[in-house]
Subunit: 695 residues, 2 copies
């Protein structure tokens, strides 16, 4: 698992003293077995042969029977890593001592600091500035410590079995939960870092460090909030590029975060949608629970990604064969019939009553000759007909009927591992006997083994999706340009038209004279819009299909008498017979910046929420992919005899809008709704910009 | 868990000799430890003190050191249950012996019978007729036996820990898989019956028997196919009524089963959709895997169904608190803020840094005083603010930090169980320490305990949905009436109009004269339909909006020259401005009979598959519920200022169509697409009937 020779991240921090210090000091070491300072000291002393340990206690000369010093300052030897677990009142003095003692890294366990209020946060920020000036990285405060099983560093209070997954977590309990799941399937932890307040080091710094860490194969992140979304995105994308996938578990993905959004775009871009967009853009795997995280990590660490979606099922009994097929198909994978050639080859390895197409049912072949599993696996892998094999059901349990089978069953597990290691197809296993020796043999051979078939199918489908995703450059925010200071329909229209968004011909009018003058330069039928209200079409503020001058005058009089709008817009009416209406918008997420939204307009968006989002700005290529990923995308490519619309023109419009929004951080929400996408092109019929109310 | 005094099912079989025989004979008892006849004999001999056991072997006088008889005929005492495990060649003789010996039930393990072909099936059917005439029920053949832990009967080859779930399964391995999952959470098996070929007893007979079985609290069914769908539906509905929920795992739910369907309705009613409709109608819980089955059974057996959707989260640490809240909301439940009153009450039980609204974060309160969990639970249950409590995270693991905590933690588990037993709110638990003694204490107190929070949330949401479902009478099939023998648009239209389906005024015309005569009696605008093709509107066979006589003649000439249709329909054009187009259809499933489909028409159905199905026939009430359960149902109740359509009229139309279809078993598919639902009513614009090609 050597890491690729990637360029260091732009903001890369040297965290060698954090994960592999030559010496460690526990500041706040304690004799009280109910205190962190005690638990940390016990571990530091236990590991003294590997790494010099110093105990610091202001008042007591001995702790746990070992000499303790009153301060970091004045120790006989320099300390690399100071783990600070003193009460909040003594924290700032302890850090000053650490700076004075020229430690190389700090882990701040102490709670009750920046998280308690604005004043405390300001003081914490000042401290971070002093530490940064001194070149000392700090994890925490309010964290649960750090561990590196590849260097034998244990400065935390829980046990993590060694392995190749690095865990970066804002919750200790969630990390323990995950580690427990990993241990159940024979995986373990390379590094654990508890994030705490992220006063200095944040999740991106820790990801960057794990990317360059030889012992890390995959990175599990539990994070409740991101301070700098784009920095996280860069680190996550770099990890994906290095072949060290980031699996992200986050919370608060409901709609609460978008309360108060003023446009459709705003209300549709929830924090969950934003996270999905960020993960899509960075090759990050978003999951919903520690269990999903462990299920996916097992496949990411062990399984070669499939080259395609064709899966062969190798089962004993019709029940597990059918359950596996159903769960694979539900996960978007294919269980296709074999060719006669492959069926014949499979049949040669199995008893006559076996099912030899897909799914394969060995039908008791396992009891008769356990080697049938490896023999059939060889046939499947050697054929070019399948991208992956899912073995499911009873493997690992045959020895339960007859102990004489056990050695052969274990050997079959090893044989399958060796076959799969040679390549040719991916392989994943489900068994009711996950804790059996044959299952362990599979794992020893590098095979992911699941207790539940839906988890195996799900993980395989995520791997497949990951393998099929085309790598796109991470969007870069342009420099901000002249900010808009006012909004309103015509301000928005003019700004966007100047940026390159095509609009229908139109004019801004306030009087009947202006209206008539403008109409003379436009082609009927026309549309009259009374401006100044949010949902113009809901309260009769938009008069469509004005076919001549008389109708125009009567529409004007009608609108004036009912709504008395301060200003109107008179516009040519787009020909919509062969058009598909789109909604296109950008919302500036406070953490991650511009998020682009596309949707098919009208009820598709409002009722069916058929919209997709991406981290902005997007290229025309990315915009096209986004449009084609809509559930209703068939409408764009010509539905039931209609001509296809010009998707490239629509994609260009999306890309242009997203680039404009990205250069305008003052804009909170921006929306063109609808866009008329026609066979000839794409044109905006409306525009709306809302400035960001945040200071 | 006493069973309610329900009336016996109409087809109720007396299965007391199957599940509680006073004596058992193993026919085909064997000394060969690789044979079922050996395994069965070992168990029968082991249980001899409970139940007399006879070993039958044609040739050997002793088996396993015990005397064996050559035949069931001529034993000194009568045998209640004959378990037949002889080779296929000797099966029919063995059954003749069983009939002659007047056994009271047969379990047929023997394979290679009716499942091997048509002739073998005919012979098997003859045998069943003889057994039925003799009043002897038979399980199998080709099955894995039967077990009843409440009577100590073990006539199978696997071990099932005792408990209250009865398993009826077409796969032995799936049953073992499920039983393993149940055992992990401290549940067990009341009865196990392996279905095999269902030559005589089918899944419905076994469900009926379990409904009347005092030791059964819930019924788990794994079934790959149903011989008599409506009989299953009646048994499942009777089980639900008796408070013994049926949880159904089935397979083959993909679209393959509807290949060759000729209408939209046909292609949309997949076997998965049919099963969902059957389960909705019968109160059956449909699941996708053994794991889901066990997760749901745990809640069904242990947890009082919540009265509503409000859930209080009781967590230790922000991570698990947030993960639980997200997973509950994703499952459709509510995690609402507490009132100040309840927050204050909760705060009184917890340390000052705890989060005391919803979700509650005890924030280390567990380490300080483990009784906080039961004290907070009391507050929550006594308030009227929550329908259920989800405790999540670390409970069961506090003793790991300090063994002195363990006894208190176990006591807290018991205390919570006692509180919950008093009622007031449902309670469900998730913990990382499912195997701990405190978790066991919770289970002993009747609380469902999950390892993964998404499973707890999912199970709770299924219980909630179940509690909220209104009980509807199971649809009954009417007697068939005069069958249709031909189809075609006008045949369908006339038949349906006669049945009470409103259509737009129209006439069938074959000549220009007929056209002009018919048009004179209709109101313009008109629609001309060239008949004889399936997707009329896709190839220009429907001319809309014919506004006058000239346009009518030109439409006629156009259609004649392009398509030369044998017959046309001239119809008034429905006013669709305020209409919502619906698709309504019925497909006759070969197993379950008429399945009703409703959808919102056009792209909603074709592109977005926004359709819902129900077991037919439906009442107008059920039809209304079905329509309102569509994703796009807001369109019906007045979307963006449009008037609401007359949903009752649409529901009447659905009910009428479903009743008509139910009385016409010769019809394979029937469809009205579109229906125009308007504020004034509902009217059909098209009709299509396809006879069932099955003999």
């Amino acid at each position: 698992m050597a890491s690729l020779a990637l360029a260091p991240a732009a903001t890369q921090r040297d965290l060698s003293a954090l994960f592999n210090p030559s010496s460690i000091a526990i500041v706040g070491a304690s004799n009280d077995p109910a205190k962190y300072g005690n638990w940390l000291a016990v571990r530091a002393l236990r590991d003294q042969k590997k790494r010099a340990a110093y105990l610091i206690n202001k008042t007591r000369p001995t702790i746990l029977g070992h000499p303790a010093a009153p301060s970091l300052v004045g120790l006989d030897r320099p300390v690399d890593l100071a783990v600070v677990a003193v009460p909040a009142a003594g924290f700032y003095d302890a850090i000053e001592d650490a700076i004075a003692a020229e430690v190389k890294a700090v882990v701040a366990i102490t709670a009750g600091l920046g998280e308690t209020g604005a004043d405390a946060l300001a003081r914490q920020d000042e401290l971070v500035a002093r530490l940064r000036a001194a070149g000392i990285p700090m994890l925490g405060p309010n964290c649960l410590g750090v561990l590196d099983n590849t260097t034998g560093l244990d400065a935390t209070v829980n046990d993590f079995k060694p392995g190749s997954v690095s865990i970066i977590s804002q919750s200790g309990n969630v990390a323990i939960d995950l580690a427990e799941h990993l241990a159940e399937v024979g995986l373990g932890v390379a590094r654990f870092a508890s994030l705490g307040n992220c006063a200095d080091l944040d999740v991106a710094d820790l990801i960057d460090s794990c990317v360059d860490h030889e012992g890390t194969a995959a990175i599990a992140v539990y994070c409740e909030g991101f301070k700098n979304g784009r920095k996280f995105a860069r680190a996550a994308a770099r990890a994906a590029e290095a072949g060290k996938p980031v699996v992200l578990l986050s919370v608060g993905r409901g709609a609460a975060s978008t309360r108060g959004a003023a446009s459709h775009t705003g209300s549709l871009v929830t924090s969950g949608v934003v996270l999905e967009a960020v993960c899509d853009a960075t090759g990050t795997e978003l999951v919903n629970s520690p269990m999903e995280m462990a299920n996916l990590l097992q496949a990411l660490v062990r399984t070669t990604p499939p080259a395609g979606t064709r899966v062969a099922v190798l089962a004993d009994g019709g029940g597990h064969a059918s359950l596996a097929s159903d769960s694979l198909e539900a996960a978007g994978l294919q269980v296709e019939q074999f060719t006669t050639e492959l069926s014949t080859a499979v049949a040669a390895e199995l008893p006559p009553n076996a099912g030899v197409s897909n799914p394969i049912d060995v039908a008791g072949g396992g009891e008769q000759d356990i080697t049938c599993f490896s023999r059939v696996t060889r046939r499947l892998i050697q054929s070019l007909e399948t991208d992956a094999v899912l073995m499911t059901g009873y493997f690992g349990g045959y020895g339960g009927y007859d102990p004489a089978i056990v050695p052969g069953e274990i050997q079959a597990g090893h044989d399958i591992g060796a076959l799969v290691a040679e390549g040719g197809a991916s392989f994943i296993a489900q068994t009711m006997f996950v804790d059996s020796k044959p299952a362990q043999a599979l794992r020893d051979g590098g095979i992911a083994v699941y207790r539940n078939v839906e988890h195996a199918s799900w993980a395989l489908s995520r791997l497949t999706r990951r393998a099929q995703a085309t790598s796109q450059p991470l969007p870069v925010l342009p420099e901000p340009t002249d900010p808009l200071t006012e909004t309103g329909y015509w301000t928005a229209r003019r700004a966007l038209a100047e940026a390159g968004i095509p609009f229908v011909p139109a004019a801004e009018v306030s009087t009947l004279d202006e209206l008539e003058a403008a109409a003379a330069g436009l082609h009927y039928p026309l549309v009259l819009k009374a401006l100044g209200d949010e949902h113009k079409s809901d309260n009769g503020g938009v008069i469509l299909n004005i076919t001549d001058h008389d109708a125009l005058i009567s529409a004007w009089n009608d609108v004036q008498s009912r709504l008395a709008p301060p200003v109107c817009s008179i516009e040519e009416m787009a020909e919509l017979t062969d058009a598909v209406e789109l909604i296109i918008g950008v919302r500036r997420d406070p953490t991650f910046g511009p998020i682009v939204l596309v949707g098919i307009g009208g009820v598709y968006t409002e009722l069916l929420k058929d919209t997709r989002c991406a981290l902005g700005p997007v290229t025309p290529d990315q915009a096209r992919t986004l449009l084609l990923s809509l559930r209703g995308s068939e409408l764009l490519s010509g539905f039931r005899g209609k001509p296809a619309v010009n998707i490239d023109a629509a994609a260009d419009l999306v890309a242009t809008l997203s680039t404009y929004a990205a250069a305008h951080p003052e804009i909170g929400e921006i929306e063109c709704n609808p866009i008329a996408a026609t066979p000839a092109g794409a044109v905006a019929l409306d525009a709306r910009i809302i400035l960001d109310p945040r200071p």
